[in-house]
C-alpha cells in the first residue's frame, strides 16, 4: 500500500522494515526532522550516547555480536566527523555498520554553512559505500541498498548523508519495495584480461579445493590459520571438521579468537607480534599454511620476507583483493569461508599429524615470569572465567590488557571475544560493549580496558545508566599507557615520554554515576569482588591495580621476523 511520507519518516520505516530495532545516536540541528519522526516509531529503540564516536562503536559492537547491521545516527558537521573513528574501525574489521547523518539543506551545501562538513568526502576511504541523498524519492531505495551493501560479501560500513530539507520533503512510499539496484557481489568478481597477473588464484572453487586437498595430503607440517572471516561466516563447525579430519593444528588471529575452542587438543593460540613462541615457531617451520578468512596483516606476519619461509600458502577469502595482497599464495580460493571449508573438509583424505604436533609441543617455552606481585593479569582473568563460568562476551580495548586477554583467557563460546583489531582503536571497549549487550540482552558482557583507553570514552557510563545497559567494566590500571611505555622501554632507551597517565578515583567515579565500583589491589580480593560485580543487575565497574611496568611477552619487534622474539626486557641505555 502506497502512502505519502516525509524523508524522516521513510528513514524510520525502511530501518524497521529491515529488522533494525535499535539505533545509537545523538541529535542536532540537521538531523532534527529524523528525531521528530522517531517519536512515532517506538519500535525503533534509540540509545542516546554521550559522544557520536561511541554511537559508531556501539553500532559496530552490535553488528559484530549479532551478525546484523548496526545503525548509528548523528547530525551534520561535528556530529558526523565524530563518527569517523568508529567507521574506520568498522571498515578495518569488516563490520556491517550503517551511519545516517543529517546534512545542511541542499541550498546551503557548498556555502560553508553552519555545521556543514563534507562527510561523504571525509568518509570515502573508510566506507564500503556512501551516499548524499539529493532527492527524497531516492531515499528509501538508498537505505535499502545501504543495508544490503553493508552486509553482503565482505561486510563493511556505509554512510548515508541526508540534507535536512530532504528529511522534510514528502513523497510516496511503498513498503517492502526492492533495493534501488540489484547488486552484484562486488568482492568475488575476477578480472578480465589478466593472464599471468593473478598468481595462485584458482579459476574455480572446485579447482582450488582439489589443489588444496592435494597439498594437505602431501604436507608434513601443515597449519590452519583462521581469522575474523570464520566468525563472520559462521564457519566454526566446518573449520573444526577440517582440523579434526586431518589432525592439523589451528592458529587463531586476534580477530579469529573464539573461532576455535580453546582447550581443543589441536588449538595452538594466537600468532604474530605477541603470539606465543611455539605458535610463531610452528609458522616458521610449517610447510603448508591453510589460511581461512584472514588478511595476513603485519601484526600477524612480522616482516613478510621472513614469514613462514618453508610454507606454501593456501588462502581462502571472500575478498579477492586480499589474496596475494600481503603474502604470495600457492593456491587462492575466492569464496565464503563456510562453503569453501565445508567443501575442503569433504574431500581431504583423513590423516594425522602426530609427529608435527610433538615437534610443536617441543617449541613450547615456559612462560616468562612477567609479573611481579600477586595481582597478575592471568590471575584476574582466571577469576573472571570462574565467575562467568566462561559464558560471557568479553570486549577489549587496545594495548597490553588486550594482548593479555587474547593470550590468557580461555574462550569457550564462538564469537565471545570482540576487539578492535585492524585499526587498534583505544576507547572502543566501553561503547562497543553497550552494543554487544543490546545484541545479546540475556548474556553477560565485560568491557576490559586499560586506564588510558577507559578514560577516552568513560562518559558512556552515563549512557549505560540512563539506558539501563548492565555492562561490566574492568580497568587494568598500571598508571601508564602501558603498550607505548613497553615500546619506549624496548626501543627508545626507556625514555617514558608522556606515557605516565593519571586516573581519577574510579570507585568515586562509579559512585558519581550511581553504580557500584570496586578497587582490587590483591589477588585475595578477586573472587568476591568479581563475583559481586558479575552478579550485579546493572552496570558495574572494577579497577584492578596492576604492576606498573609489566610487559607483554614474547614480542616480535615491529618489522622483525617471527623467528626472533623478545622474551625478556633488553638492557637499555636507561638501565
Amino acid at each position: 500500500m502506497t502512502e505519502t511520507l516525509t524523508g524522516a519518516q521513510i528513514l524510520c520505516r525502511t530501518l524497521l522494515e529491515a529488522g533494525v530495532d535499535v539505533i545509537f545516536g545523538y541529535p542536532g540541528g540537521a538531523i532534527m526532522p529524523f528525531y521528530h519522526a522517531l517519536g512515532d516509531h517506538p519500535a525503533l529503540r534509540h540509545i542516546l550516547v554521550r559522544h557520536e564516536q561511541a554511537a559508531a562503536h556501539a553500532a559496530d559492537g552490535y553488528a559484530r555480536a549479532s551478525g546484523r547491521v548496526g545503525v548509528c545516527v548523528a547530525t551534520s558537521g561535528p556530529g558526523a566527523t565524530n563518527l569517523v573513528t568508529g567507521l574506520a574501525t568498522a571498515h578495518m574489521d569488516s563490520s556491517p555498520v550503517v551511519a545516517i547523518t543529517g546534512q545542511v539543506p541542499r541550498a546551503m551545501i557548498g556555502r560553508d554553512a553552519f555545521q556543514e562538513t563534507d562527510i561523504v568526502g571525509i568518509t570515502l576511504p573508510i566506507t564500503k559505500q556512501n551516499y548524499l541523498v539529493q532527492d527524497v524519492t531516492e531515499l528509501a531505495g538508498v537505505v535499502r541498498e545501504a543495508l544490503a551493501v553493508a552486509q553482503q560479501g565482505r561486510p563493511g560500513p556505509v554512510l548515508i548523508d541526508v540534507p535536512k530539507d530532504v528529511q522534510n520533503q514528502k513523497t510516496t512510499y511503498t513498503p517492502g519495495a526492492a533495493a534501488r539496484a540489484t547488486l552484484r557481489d562486488k568482492n568475488t568478481q575476477s578480472l578480465r584480461g589478466a593472464p599471468a597477473a593473478a598468481p595462485g588464484v584458482s579459476a574455480s572453487v572446485e579447482d582450488g579445493v582439489r589443489e588444496a586437498a592435494r597439498l594437505i595430503a602431501a604436507a608434513e607440517r601443515p597449519l590452519i590459520m583462521v581469522g575474523h572471516g570464520v566468525i563472520i561466516g559462521n564457519a566454526y563447525a566446518e573449520v573444526r571438521a577440517l582440523a579434526e579430519k586431518t589432525g592439523i593444528p589451528v592458529i587463531t588471529t586476534l580477530l579469529g579468537i573464539s573461532a576455535f575452542p580453546d582447550g581443543h587438543p589441536l588449538f595452538l593460540g594466537m600468532p604474530g607480534m605477541h603470539g606465543e613462541v611455539r605458535v610463531n615457531r610452528a609458522i616458521q617451520h610449517a610447510d603448508l599454511i591453510v589460511g581461512i578468512g584472514l588478511r595476513f596483516d603485519d601484526r600477524v606476519t612480522g616482516n613478510t620476507a621472513g614469514f613462514a619461509p618453508r610454507a606454501r600458502i593456501v588462502h581462502i577469502d571472500l575478498d579477492r583483493a586480499e589474496i596475494g595482497k600481503n603474502v604470495p599464495v600457492t593456491v587462492g580460493i575466492v569464496g565464503d569461508a563456510r562453503d569453501v571449508t565445508h567443501r575442503l573438509a569433504a574431500v581431504v583424505q583423513p590423516r594425522t599429524c602426530e609427529r608435527w604436533l610433538a615437534e610443536i609441543h617441543d617449541f613450547t617455552r615456559p612462560r616468562a615470569a612477567a609479573f611481579r606481585g600477586d595481582l597478575a593479569p592471568e590471575t584476574i582473568l582466571a577469576s573472571l572465567y570462574q565467575a562467568t563460568e566462561g559464558r560471557c562476551t568479553i570486549v577489549t580495548d587496545v594495548g597490553q590488557h588486550q594482548m593479555w586477554v587474547a593470550k590468557l583467557y580461555p574462550y569457550r563460546e564462538p564469537n565471545s571475544h570482540i576487539t578492535s583489531g585492524g585499526l587498534g582503536t583505544m576507547g572502543f571497549a566501553v561503547p562497543a560493549a553497550m552494543g554487544v549487550h543490546l545484541a545479546r540482552p540475556g548474556e553477560t558482557v565485560w568491557a576490559i580496558s586499560g586506564d588510558g583507553g577507559f578514560q577516552m570514552n568513560m562518559a558512556e557510563i552515563a549512557t549505560m545508566v540512563q539506558e539501563r545497559l548492565p555492562v561490566k567494566m574492568a580497568i587494568f590500571n598500571n598508571g601508564y599507557l602501558g603498550m607505548v611505555r613497553q615500546w619506549q622501554q624496548f626501543f627508545h632507551g626507556k625514555r617514558y615520554s608522556c606515557t605516565p597517565i593519571w586516573s581519577p578515583d574510579y570507585v568515586k567515579l562509579a559512585e558519581a554515576y550511581g553504580i557500584p565500583g570496586w578497587r582490587v589491589k590483591e589477588a585475595a580480593e578477586l573472587p568476591d569482588v568479581v563475583a559481586q560485580a558479575n552478579d550485579y543487575s546493572g552496570p558495574a565497574l572494577v579497577e584492578f591495580v596492576i604492576e606498573q611496568e609489566a610487559n607483554v611477552y614474547p614480542m616480535i619487534p615491529p618489522g622483525g621476523s617471527l623467528s626472533e622474539p623478545i622474551e625478556t626486557a633488553p638492557a637499555s641505555a636507561g638501565d
Binding site: 576511504p125 564500503k128 568478481q189 578480465r192 599471468a196 597477473a197 598468481p199 579477492r320 595482497k325 604470495p328
Partner: protein
C-alpha cells in the same frame, strides 16, 4: 616481465564513483605514471585509465581494489605495450 601495466576501469559516470576510484589510487599509494579519464560510447559510463610502474602481481593487487567499488562495471588489466603508450600520448 613488463614493468609497466595499464588498468582500465569502466565505471558509472557519477562524481562520487569517480571520486572513490581516484581515491583508491591515492589511498593505496599506487605508483602512477599517467592517469586519464574519458567518456565511453555507452552513455553514463566513463573509463578511468592509468598506467602504473609495477610488476604484474602489484598491478593485479591494485586492480582488484577497484572491483570492490559500487559503480565499477569492469576492470581490465594489461601489460603496457610501447604501442599503447604511443596511442595514448
Amino acid at each position: 616481465m613488463p614493468d609497466s601495466h595499464t588498468v582500465a576501469v569502466l565505471l558509472d559516470d557519477a562524481l562520487l564513483t569517480l571520486n572513490r576510484a581516484v581515491g583508491v589510487l591515492r589511498r593505496r599509494n599506487v605508483p602512477i605514471e599517467r592517469v586519464a579519464l574519458r567518456p565511453t560510447a555507452t552513455a553514463g559510463v566513463s573509463q578511468l585509465t592509468f598506467i602504473l610502474k609495477a610488476d604484474a602481481a602489484t598491478a593485479d593487487r591494485v586492480a582488484q581494489q577497484f572491483h570492490k567499488i559500487v559503480g565499477v562495471r569492469d576492470v581490465v588489466l594489461a601489460a603496457t605495450e610501447e604501442s599503447t603508450r604511443e596511442v595514448q600520448s
